[in-house]
Symmetry: none
Subunit: 211 residues, 4 copies
Amino acid sequence: MNNKREVHASVKDERLVEKRRNQMIRGAVSLFKQKGFHRTTTREIAKAAGFSIGTLYEYIRTKEDVLYLVCDSIYEEVRTELEDMELEKGTLESLKHGIQHYFRVMDNMQDEVLVMYQEAKSLSKDALPYVLKKEMEMVGMFEKLLQCCVEKGAISFTKEQIHLMAQNIFVQGQMWGFRRWTLQKSYTIEDYINLQTELLFSSIMGHEKNR
Amino acid sequence: MNNKREVHASVKDERLVEKRRNQMIRGAVSLFKQKGFHRTTTREIAKAAGFSIGTLYEYIRTKEDVLYLVCDSIYEEVRTELEDMELEKGTLESLKHGIQHYFRVMDNMQDEVLVMYQEAKSLSKDALPYVLKKEMEMVGMFEKLLQCCVEKGAISFTKEQIHLMAQNIFVQGQMWGFRRWTLQKSYTIEDYINLQTELLFSSIMGHEKNR
Amino acid sequence: MNNKREVHASVKDERLVEKRRNQMIRGAVSLFKQKGFHRTTTREIAKAAGFSIGTLYEYIRTKEDVLYLVCDSIYEEVRTELEDMELEKGTLESLKHGIQHYFRVMDNMQDEVLVMYQEAKSLSKDALPYVLKKEMEMVGMFEKLLQCCVEKGAISFTKEQIHLMAQNIFVQGQMWGFRRWTLQKSYTIEDYINLQTELLFSSIMGHEKNR
Amino acid sequence: MNNKREVHASVKDERLVEKRRNQMIRGAVSLFKQKGFHRTTTREIAKAAGFSIGTLYEYIRTKEDVLYLVCDSIYEEVRTELEDMELEKGTLESLKHGIQHYFRVMDNMQDEVLVMYQEAKSLSKDALPYVLKKEMEMVGMFEKLLQCCVEKGAISFTKEQIHLMAQNIFVQGQMWGFRRWTLQKSYTIEDYINLQTELLFSSIMGHEKNR
DNA sequence: TATGAATGAGTGTTCATTCAT
DNA sequence: GATGAATGAACACTCATTCAT
């Protein structure tokens, strides 16, 4: 269960810690969105969270802790959203649904994803692994989804191919956010979903078992 | 010719300006690679470039100018590398070669690409468009490559599909750099190239005209 | 009875005030020993005393009050130790015993003396006189001791000489603590006592009445 | 020659470094005198030195560097003053002169000595040894002075006695500064010098060779 | 009487930028 | 053209003190 890096809080009341941290994260995300992590000051974060700079530091140790908390919370939210993908079905239909659901989640969380995407690299060597681990878990979900289809005989791919396809899908989801400046000029999210699944499935079709 | 944002230099001798800026860019890239744009100081840049802080400011106006110059130079280098792709052939073979060449270029320039990828967002609203334009030009090259194949009848895709495929290819190239922490554990660059083209072409095959 | 500066306590129960303050002093001395007054936080003092920061402030008004309480308590302890010096005897023997006893007390309370020595200067203009007064009382004890010997005819010194000798003795006692970094490399406390009394008494001998 | 701890300066011009540091030291001593090291801010030091906070940090790395520089400079000054004591004579007369000269120096430098005395303990474990070494050198000078007298046959003391007497003399000099609140009420510096040498020499007389 | 969460003025330090030489 | 000393706004972080519970 070392899935979380403990961020030290001086305040003991865990309920309060969670509440204050949520305020903090909400404020920070909105600031990081506008100006990035480095250009955001701790005072701004405190203000956006609705409390004083002193109080901010009752709940974190360093500014970087805020970034970690933000990243962690975003991943957690994404993962929660994806938890109910039907991992066991093993049909092409359920695969398609899973991917499309993921794309929609990424659309809803565009801002958060963009923040994470651009700022995660500022995490210390200490915190980064925890975030990367979360990413790998999510990629793993797509791998499982694909793997199931292979096992149920719906399609035929090697392990390596599946591993890479999962990464591609994952990145294509994020891409909708971090390349929005160009993609969202050409497509709506529904266009994007349709086109990407089309391309993906025409590739998958080429591997359908009983064609 | 509004392809370049002019960066003001106090020094008039253009030869000198170019020479000094190249020193500067080389130094800056290596520093940004290690510590990112924000954590690199102008003094460090000057030192790495081999001249004094005062001299640095004879060739730029603000620290951000350095970032712009770096980004611009990286894109220029990538574009030069890709210039000799056989854009006119319109065969699947030449398409495959183009993509594989691009992937190899991205492998060689991993560090630079990573820098650009992570720091471009720190460009001012003023400079960003110039960089994005360069990106679009590069995506445009893949579009052209694909378009040619369609026109020559090798494959059959809609405009929209081609546009998106080009972006996918472009991102998959960058992805090798910015997801190296996981991809390069599983694959060599040759593995990666083979698997990605395989997946891509199995998708393209599904659209081959005369199958 | 203006021998003590009143330190305000919100709590009325005097028994409790004394108990809490003793806890506080014990904790504070040990902290000041390690890190000095300025580097010790009120929170640390509260913790070391075994209660909360809020409670600490029920028994003092400012951080400096703690320092005053500590200094006062140390002096009180020293004075208590010295109270049973035979001030009335007026023999060289009892003088020697008195001095040696003082040196031993200073050895036992090295840490406390060091703390007082180094931190007393941080007392406010308000509190300092009280502490200095205590010091003068102690110097006065040595003066009395010497004076008695003069009066009883054991030695012959002027008032001024006695006054200064008393200060010298007093400082030599403290010196064992605040110069321990060098003295305690060369001597044990017994060496030190013997040497200092030897030197002192060879000076006194020069003033012996009936030599 | 590792007699000095190097304090890093960004500025290269050594002449300038020395000049600025002298300004700095002068300003700092006067501030430390009034409010102590901890209560003095780096901004105040810069201002007292006559330059900006940014400039201050071109000549030091940390606030503690200022303290070290101050202590070092004070010791250097004292040592320079004492350098011309006639160490070789070996007569009681020259010994007396040496001591009296020292006491006068300590009188002139009261403020500085007080500062050093009270703040030196705030030096880091890193810097302290350099300062203590300087102290031991000074004590060593008195030891030498005494030793000469012994060798020349003027007086008769053991090594251990000499070592301790030297420390006593040294501390009695400082004492004039750090106990000024009481001593200077009773004595002028000349009184003090006369009384202390009298006491000291009546002790030494007891050890004169040919009495 | 005891607690500990909240506060915000204050601290040491950094660094992009300027400008006299 | 080149230098590097000077500047000061800005920053992350601390801590004595208060006060509602």
